[in-house]
Each structure stands twice: as C-alpha cells, then as structure tokens.
C-alpha cells in the first residue's frame, strides 16, 4: 500500500541543538498516527517538517510519495496543519480570512462554503469581527475551519483539543473520525494520550527528538 509518510533518518537542527535526531518511520496512507512526548521533545518540529513549513537538516522525508523539499509545490495542496501559530491575519475578520484561503484554493462559491464552515465551528455570530478580538478558543476554531476547507490528504493536528471547550473537544473528535473515514491520514500530537490512542492506529513517542518505545 502507498505510504502517507516516510521518514528516512531525518534530523532537524536549530542553532547547535538537535530538535530531531535520526528519525525513521513510515505511515501507511489512510492510517493515523499519534505523536506523543514530553514538552520540547520535537512534536511541533516534526509536524512543521511534514507540513513543509520547514525542512529537515539531514535525511529525506517523503509525504504522500513526494519529497518534502524538492517536490513541495506538488505536496502542499495535500497537507494541512493546525499548530501553535494560527496563520491568521489579525486585522481581517474570520470570514475574510477564510474567504482569502478559499480564493487561493479556487473553491467554487467561496461565500457559501465559508459561511457553512463558520457555522459548523460556531463562529458565525462573530464572522465579521477581526481576529484580533477573538478569544484563544475562537482562534483555534477558525484554524480548524481553515483546515477543513483545505480537505487535506494528510491532516496535521498539533494539540487540537487545547483551548477548546468540552463541546469543541467532542466536535473535534468527531471531525477527526470523519477525516479518517474520508481516507485522510491524521497525525495527532497531543498530551491527552488515552484520547489520542482511541482516535489513531499507531503511535510515535519522542524523547529528546528521538523515537523511543513508550513505557
């Protein structure tokens, strides 16, 4: 079967410190991965590499068969990332932020798609407020809406439950399962291990940027 992720001895250095060290693993397309590890173990760094927001210092990373650096143009439409940095324009409203993405993606009828997504994430009442005035959870919801619009083949979720209220957490779980049903590989980094294990097939535990077997 095709591979969603294929990491061949990848390492990532910041300054003089290795955030990821010689990591090798594979993930079959359609299967989902749970990423765990202590604070600072390299989860966010790994997700950013997969999302092509940054590239390995050494080693080769292939996502959906594409080389993450050399073939990034072909790869980018296939991956979506929700991370600590929200990528929102603070001075645009929620609707404007989403519409912008929709137009870049060439979505047909952006207006109705955007309203639909905002409604789904419970932001419709605040659609025209600039993101600067949003609470932490509302920002997270907007980031999730953007991910849904992109309908990625590989969805990268970095602590998606953080800042969400209980209803939002339940909804997020539903969304993850829905994505999986559509054949999307979800890579989920979270500290809520049980919850994560319920939602995924495999697990990668990092310690100091290295793959270890969780105890």
């Amino acid at each position: 079967m095709a591979l969603a992720l294929e990491a061949l001895d990848i390492s990532k250095r910041f300054g003089a410190r290795w955030a990821l060290s010689r990591l090798s693993f594979t993930l079959e397309a359609g299967r989902s991965l749970l990423l765990t590890g202590h604070n600072g173990s390299g989860k966010t760094t790994l997700l950013r590499l997969i999302a092509t927001a940054s590239f390995p210092t050494a080693g080769v990373l292939k996502v959906m068969g594409y080389h993450s650096q050399d073939e990034r143009e072909a790869l980018r439409p296939l991956v979506g990332l929700v991370s600590h940095a929200s990528f929102h324009y603070e001075d645009l409203s929620a609707a404007q932020n989403l519409t912008l993405t929709a137009k870049f993606l060439g979505v047909e009828q952006p207006a109705s798609v955007v309203t639909g997504l905002l409604d789904r994430m419970g932001l419709v009442a605040r659609a025209d407020s600039p993101v600067r005035q949003f609470s932490a959870g509302m920002r997270k919801r907007l980031a999730i809406a953007r991910l849904l619009m992109r309908a990625p083949k590989v969805a990268l979720l970095d602590e998606p439950f953080g800042e969400l209220d209980p209803a939002g957490i339940a909804q997020m779980e539903g969304l993850i399962q829905e994505l999986q049903r559509q054949g999307t590989s979800v890579v989920l980094a979270t500290h809520l291990v049980e919850q994560g294990q319920r939602l995924t097939h495999e697990r990668l535990h990092l310690e100091g940027g290295r793959k270890v077997t969780p105890v």
Binding site: R22, A58, G209
Partner: protein, 253 residues
Amino acid sequence: MTPILPLVVLALVVAAIVGHVAVPAVRPWAWKAVGALGAAMLVSLWYFGLYWAPPEQFMSDVGRILYVHVPHVWMALLAFTLNVGCAVAYLMKKSWVTDALAESAAEVGVYFGAVGVMMGSIWARPTWGVWWDWDPRLISTTVMLLAYVGYLALRSFTEDPERRATWSAAAAILSYVSLPIVWFSVRWWNSLHQVQSNPSTVDKPMVAVLRWGAVTMLCFLFVFIVKRYEIARSRQTAAMELPPLEAPRAEVA
C-alpha cells in the same frame, strides 16, 4: 586596461582558492608560500613605488599612493565579485562551502575596501585639499561598503545557519548591484575622481608598478580569504555533524 583582464584575474583567483579548498595536500603549505611571495613583493613594491617609478605628472610624489590605493580597491571589487558568485552558487545548490566562502570574501572585501577608501581619503587631503568630497566615486564606494557592512550585520544577527545562508545570499546579490555603479560612477556623474585610464596613456613604469602592486595585493587577498574560510568552516563543522544514531546512554547511578 583591457576589459577582459579583470575577468582573467578573477578566474585565476577563483581557481587558486578552489584548488586550495579542494586539494587537501596543498593546504598546509600553499598559503604560506603565497603569503611569503606577497610579503616579498610588498617589500619590493616599496622600493619600486617609492624610488624606482617616476613621480606623477601633476601630483609628484603624493601620487605614489596610487600603487596601493588602486590595488586595494580593485581587490575589494574582486572579493565582492567572488562573494556574489558564491551567493548565486549557494542559491542554486545549498552547500556550506559556498556559504563559508561568501562570508570570508565579503569580510575580506570590506577590509580591502575600507583601507582603500582610507588611503583615498588620505590622498585627497594634499591633492584636493579636503579629507572628503562630494564625489560620486567616493560616495558610491562608501555606500557599497555600507551595503556589505549591512550584509555582515545580517549574517551576525541571524542565528539559524540555513536562514543566515539564504538571507545573506539574497542580500549579497542585491548589494552587488552597487558594484557596477562604483565602476561607472565616474562616467555617469562628472566627478573629481580620476576616470579609469588606459595603459597606453600612462607611463610604462607606472603601469608596471601598479600591476606589481596589484599582484602583491592578490597574494594577500588569497591568503586572507583562504584563512578566513578555514575559520568559517571550523565554526560550521562543530554544528554540521549528525547526531549519533543511538541516544547517548544516561549515566547509571
């Protein structure tokens, strides 16, 4: 001066530096040999420039500073050309070698340029009567140096090596645009400063001494860049090695 000559010199310098970088066998001694040659030539340049060459037609003995002023500025231009070459090479194919070489070339270039400008300024005092004048050549040269100081500042303010390399390569290319302007400024804006002259209009001995000076400075340019390159590389390699495959085992009490 034929337009092809600077290119030939550039090719020679690049070949020499690449040879030095690529062939480990020559590394221990080649730079010493060139350095020694440079030192010897410097001593003789002293004699040739100060005694042997005839005094300059209009400036008499003051004009003799020409033999070091001009080579210095030439070397700076040469080093910046090397720098931009490395920058382009880096952007086409990432390599720590070209990054390090670009860094050393820029730094050495700023050194030669600064000394050259200082000499020009010293020269200007007796000939033009001022330390400095509002002359396109002087300003464009200084501004070019400032551009490269900015380049070096960008390098030192960026911690991440990859970012530093890419960003500074971009800055190198944009800064290089000022170089042809330095060269042509004397023509575009009518200036006090000497327009490039032609060997045929200048006294044979003067041309000879000038060229002697240029070769002397070339030796130094080579040595400086090569040594600075080694420093840059040694700073890099500390961080270049991959981490070990197995995690270092924790101390067991």
